[in-house]
């Protein structure tokens, strides 16, 4: 029922579009190499010989691996619960599972620290990053499970394998791609994150990069450290490709049945596992802020017009960014889902790079790039939206790739034997089958862009505020309470697209 993907060459226009899209990710790289090697090779050697270098690298790897492994376990359990258990108020369970995506890691870290002041070092960073990254696994795996079938489980069961043992051979191959793609996002997010580790005093490469900018204004050192992160990201992308193995795509359009289990005392613990991420990532931080807001000493008046303008700016900017990001991700995702060649591999790998870079680096790279090529665009909302698109385009790649791969080749063959033109095929075969995932990809970029901070601080038009910049400004001063309405609003506006998303999924289910 499966066959190796097209060995046919992709159409030229698609290769060109994909190459152009992936080349945009070179902007930060060109900038970095210019800065990193500006100090000569001596400074490179000196840096690598620092006593602390090994520790930073080790901590970064340790945290990346631990967070990814945990997020995969939590994400798989949550996804199974969402996709295979009959749930009352299912839509709200999915919203709960998605909410942590909208919470900036520094906010989650602050909340955890305020609630449990003893949390420190590795474990605090680990918990916070697991909380905010688990949705990257939960969402694609849920989608894959929904699209999949339980027929194989039943088959194993009839052959005598009990319960979860039947689940493994029957279902794992259906969700492996989605799990790996999600895991890759989690790992890259973790190694490039600063906010989630800084408050717990866990020294990693990103904290060292921030210090290089912060204390010495040493851009060369910061760039060198960033290059190490880029190398780490590249190696990870390479291994994920290896682990993904040979690319299979379904040949026929048999849509297997998916059996739902009733919600019982036996599987309710799955739901409790699902709640870990939203509780740690959203409920605690927002709750702590609300408590502080109503605290007598810290009671602050909310400036509604400020909140309103920040909300509008955030929504407009992040979804403009999502649109640009989707346009960049589409050609790359389609290539990766449908074709296999060295060029396609290179294009896809490049596409993931921006995720492995801290926001401050991408922000500075775009400052450098914009001023030297299109100075009129500098510090405009348009450039900021482009930055969001570039930064978060990789988050859409996996979703697009998997959905394109799921298009049955038989359908394509039938449509071409019926004499459909490329355009007709696109409109009547490809688009109907992929549009939900494209929408998912769009929302994923949008929701992530809402909370972006470092690039926003640098590239926004002077005087323009967003929810993230307001949050940052208010948590930086001693008055955390004043940040509460902004944190709450961020979570609310991230929940709305999620609700839309869930509705679109349920409609589809009814139809099929």
């Amino acid at each position: 029922m499966s066959t190796l993907v097209n060995v046919v060459r992709p159409p030229l226009w698609l290769t060109v579009a994909g190459s152009l899209a992936s080349l945009t990710t070179l902007i930060p790289l060109i900038y970095l190499s210019q800065r990193a090697f500006g100090g000569g090779w001596e400074s490179v050697v000196e840096l690598l010989n620092r006593p602390r270098m090994a520790l930073l690298l080790w901590n970064t790897l340790l945290l990346g691996v631990a967070v990814t492994a945990t997020a995969i376990v939590l994400g798989l359990v949550s996804a199974y619960f969402l996709a295979r258990v009959y749930l009352p108020a299912r839509r709200w369970w999915l919203v709960m599972a998605t909410i942590p995506l909208a919470v900036p890691s520094y906010l989650a870290a602050y909340g955890l620290l305020a609630a449990f002041p003893t949390t420190q070092g590795f474990w605090g960073s680990w918990l916070v990053l697991v909380a905010v990254t688990t949705p990257y696994v939960t969402l694609p795996v849920t989608a894959a499970l929904r699209a999949g079938t339980t027929d194989f489980d039943d088959l194993s069961r009839t052959l005598g394998a009990p319960g979860w043992k039947a689940l493994l051979p029957g279902t794992w191959h259906q969700i492996r791609g989605a799990t790996l793609a999600g895991g890759l996002l989690v790992f890259l997010y973790t190694i490039a994150d600063f906010g989630g580790v800084a408050l717990f005093r866990f020294p990693v490469l990103t904290t060292a990069i921030q210090q290089a900018y912060g204390a010495s204004y040493d851009r060369n050192l910061a760039a060198l450290l960033s290059m190490i992160l880029v190398a780490l990201a590249l190696v990870t992308v390479f291994f994920e490709r290896r682990a993904r193995g040979r690319l299979f795509t379904s040949k026929t359009s048999t849509r297997g049945r998916s059996r739902l289990n009733p919600l019982t005392g036996k599987n309710i613990w799955l739901g409790i596992v699902l709640l870990i991420a939203p509780v740690v990532g959203a409920v605690i931080p927002v709750g702590v802020m609300l408590v502080r807001m109503f605290d007598v000493n810290a009671l602050q008046e909310v400036r509604w017009e400020n909140l309103a303008s920040a909300t509008v700016n955030t929504v407009v900017l992040s979804f403009a960014g999502a649109t640009i990001g989707l346009l960049l991700a589409l050609p790359i995702g389609i290539l990766a889902g449908r074709y296999r060649s060295k060029i396609v591999s290179a294009i896809e790998s490049l596409g993931y790079l921006p995720l492995g870079l801290p926001g401050i680096v991408v922000g500075l790279a775009l400052v450098f790039f914009a001023l030297s090529t299109v100075p009129v665009l500098y510090q405009t909302a348009f450039l900021l939206a482009c930055a969001y698109g570039l930064l978060f385009m990789p988050k859409a790649l996996g979703t697009i790739r998997q959905s394109v791969r799921a298009i049955p080749t038989s359908l394509v063959d039938v449509s071409s034997s019926l004499g459909y033109s490329t355009r007709q095929r696109l409109v009547s075969v490809y688009l109907p089958l992929t549009r939900t995932s494209f929408l998912v990809a769009w929302l994923l970029i949008g929701v992530t862009a809402m909370k972006e901070l470092p690039a926003t601080l640098m590239l926004r038009p002077t005087g323009m505020n967003t929810l993230a910049t307001e949050l940052w400004a208010k948590t930086d001063v001693a008055s955390y309470g004043a940040a509460a309405p902004y944190a709450l609003m961020l979570v609310i506006i991230a929940a709305i697209p999620t609700l839309l998303l869930v509705r679109s999924e349920t409609t589809q289910e009814v139809k099929s």
Partner: protein, 343 residues
Amino acid sequence: MNISSLKSSLLAAGTALALVVGLSACTTEPAANADGTVVVYAGRDEALIAPLIEQFTEETGIDVDVRFGSTPELSALLLEEGERTPANVFLSQDAGALGALSDAGLLATLPADITDAVPAEFTSTDDTWVGVTGRARVIAYDSEKYTESEIPDSVLELTDPRWSGLVGFPPGNASFQSFVTALRVLEGEKVAEQWVADMAKNSPVLTEKNGATLDLVNAGQLDLALINHYYWFERAAELGQDNMRVQIKFLPGDPGGIVNVTGAGILKNSATDADALAFVKYLVSESAQKYFATTTFEYPLVPGVASPEGLPALEELVNTQLDLADLASLAETQALLAKYGLL
């Protein structure tokens, strides 16, 4: 999901994009000289600075476009922008960032009526920036475990095994590094290196930020912290004086108790911009200096303006042997901290 809702989403996206392009069109006017507007990059907290800026606009009629950010991010931004910067004025949280910009040749020389407003020890030697407020280094301590007299009068004593594992500080923080630089300048490289080596062996608690370090002490998680004085006052204003388990001790005459400054400079291409000059001049005026003393609990630098209540006099703390310009050798300090694994 059906086609029509997809269409509407795409339409929404398109509208958003058009809006963004529209928005961007109205924000790209270049700042000309004396056009009644000044563009300020402010590396300080918005809540603390915004009221002062409103006050300035009210008094002078000059509009201020402020880009708030952290001092390190904004100085990295200014270095990256170089001469193409849209900024006229940079308001910095510390002298180091101003020094870095000055070294890169990005700051204009300020007129004497601005630099003369504050004592010479609080401005740059080449008049490229002026000090605006002063901030003292202090030891914060857990008042449930110690009385003030049990706290050493000098940071040099903190290398004693008695304090092993009990002292916290943010080694990446600019003010902490300025203090280590002061230690090198005042006590000599040998003493400084010995101190760093002994401190590193004394199991210090390494933190990221001053404020978070203070919170650790207030939560009973840490006994002593090396921070700036005003963090305590800001936290006390939020939590109430009675909820301050953490207390602070000033260290007059000690390298660990030096006074550092926040300051402002004018970017080179705005050297003759009357609005930029008016803004920086306002920062060292009596009304702005009073504002800082009462709102941010920092030391005013202009003679004659009273210090915040409850603080020791600035003259008591200022180390006459130390020139702030000597604190520019941050790179050596960082190398020293890195050598002993603190950075």
